[in-house]
């Protein structure tokens, strides 16, 4: 064990953790909006709208994240027509390609989490709202959505942790995130065990924080 290497690589790895956190937070914010949008489509009565939303979540939950990120980064990069469009400004950057892939992926899972939360809301609660003369729209935004968010907290907490670990795939498209920098240090020191232990410890610490924040929120919004 080379403890000196573990200590000297720590600041470099912590610096790279910032990129990991940026990727994670951007993907989670975009993913939450995408997920909410598709969850609302999923509970829609129109079969075409409903099937479309189902198809989206089916494709993105049914394929590996690594394949998705490769298709978006290397795949779209091969289409010559795309390179002459405005879209290329975004798709040229590995950073945005990673965020697009992560957002679409976590969005698919989030839509399923929120959909099941919507469906567990007891009809009695909605009926109670109607009987008080509240419009359906207000019932949806002021009653259904808050309850759904509370219901989905434990599952969503899991999704955040999964996504946090998923960001390590950003290193496959040249981004220097936590895993990317760990690999870079290994490529010059040839000592994988020491460096991956430190990197793994940082991931574990992030999981610890996320887990406790979610637990706190669960307690705060319990009823």
């Amino acid at each position: 064990m080379d403890f000196e290497l573990m200590i000297t690589s720590l600041p470099k790895l912590l610096n790279a953790t910032l990129i990991t956190l940026k990727l994670l937070s951007a993907s989670l914010i975009f993913g939450l909006f995408i997920g909410l949008f598709f969850a609302i489509l999923r509970v829609n009565k129109n079969p075409i709208v409903n099937k479309f939303a189902y198809g989206y979540s089916y494709v993105f939950r049914g394929t590996p994240l690594l394949v998705q990120i490769f298709i978006i980064y290397f795949g779209l990069g091969q289409i010559e027509y795309l390179r002459s469009t405005v879209l290329w400004v975004i798709l040229k950057e590995p950073y945005w390609c990673a965020i697009i892939a992560f957002s679409l992926n976590t969005g698919a899972y989030t839509s399923e989490i929120l959909r099941s939360a919507f469906q567990t809301i007891k009809p009695g609660i909605i009926e109670a709202g109607h009987s008080l003369g509240i419009t359906s729209k207000i019932i949806f935004y002021k009653i259904q959505i808050p309850i759904a968010i509370r219901q989905s907290l434990p599952a969503y907490g899991n999704e955040i942790i999964l996504m946090m670990k998923g960001t390590s795939l950003a290193s496959t498209v040249t981004l220097m995130d936590l895993t990317g920098v760990a690999k870079y240090i290994i490529s010059t020191t040839f000592k994988p065990i020491e460096v991956f232990i430190v990197a793994g410890g940082i991931y574990l610490f992030m999981t610890f924080i996320i887990h406790n924040v979610i637990k706190f929120l669960e307690r705060k919004y319990s009823y």
Partner: protein, 275 residues
Amino acid sequence: MNIIKKFSLGVLITLFLSFSANADKIKIGTEGAYPPWNSKDASGKLIGFEVELAWTLCRYIGQQCEIVEQDWDGMIPALIMRKFDAIMAGMSITAERQKAISFSQGYADEVASLAVMKGSDLEGIDTPAGINLTKPNAAAKKALKTLTTALSGKTVCVQTATIHQNFLDSGDVGKVNVRTYKTQDEVNLDLASGRCDAALAAAVAFSDYAEKSGKPVVLVGPTFSGGAFGNGVGVGIRKDDTELLNAFNKAIDKARKNGDISRIATKWFGFDASM
């Protein structure tokens, strides 16, 4: 119960047999993704200059060999952790790597070069045909200056953990935006897509790609050798494995004397890259 006992005994025997069968085989690790040094054919079989050379060297050593595949970025750690006994993967002999492993004498040498897509503004850089960085002369120093200006602010793509990355990180050509990839294939893809302004690798890796893909990849600037680019390609061996190191050195001597290395090199590179 009896069935379970018989089954586990069977497993144990199989395990034992497979261990003892492998005991006297030399395992050689290669990447299989760096043509023409080493690559794979359509059926997934390992081919290339080093694969053919490895079989020749094993014949001279007089021992059975097995060639195994290993990702480039884990090559040296895998050797140290005894997943195989020797590396033949276009790995240049550099001082940095020699801190971790030993190398046999060199068996072939390559020059590195920058490549761009046709029509790039880097196409007309005015430099000598080749520079050696071990003891750079005035012309080489001037060429590095020209490159520093030309590459400033550009994105240059390389495979990770290579001499090419070391060179760009060394600051000899100033501060360029270095982007690293797991394989040379991925470097080629992003060079063609336009995400990289230029790429740096063995000159043969680019000419091989241009030929096979039909993409307008052109070599620019000088060819590089010496210095960060190391002193030829050799067989990587664990430091404590001096017996195997000697065996490989002798085998390389014999193969060189009999003209095997030049013959195989000419077959795969189209020119004699042996040394």
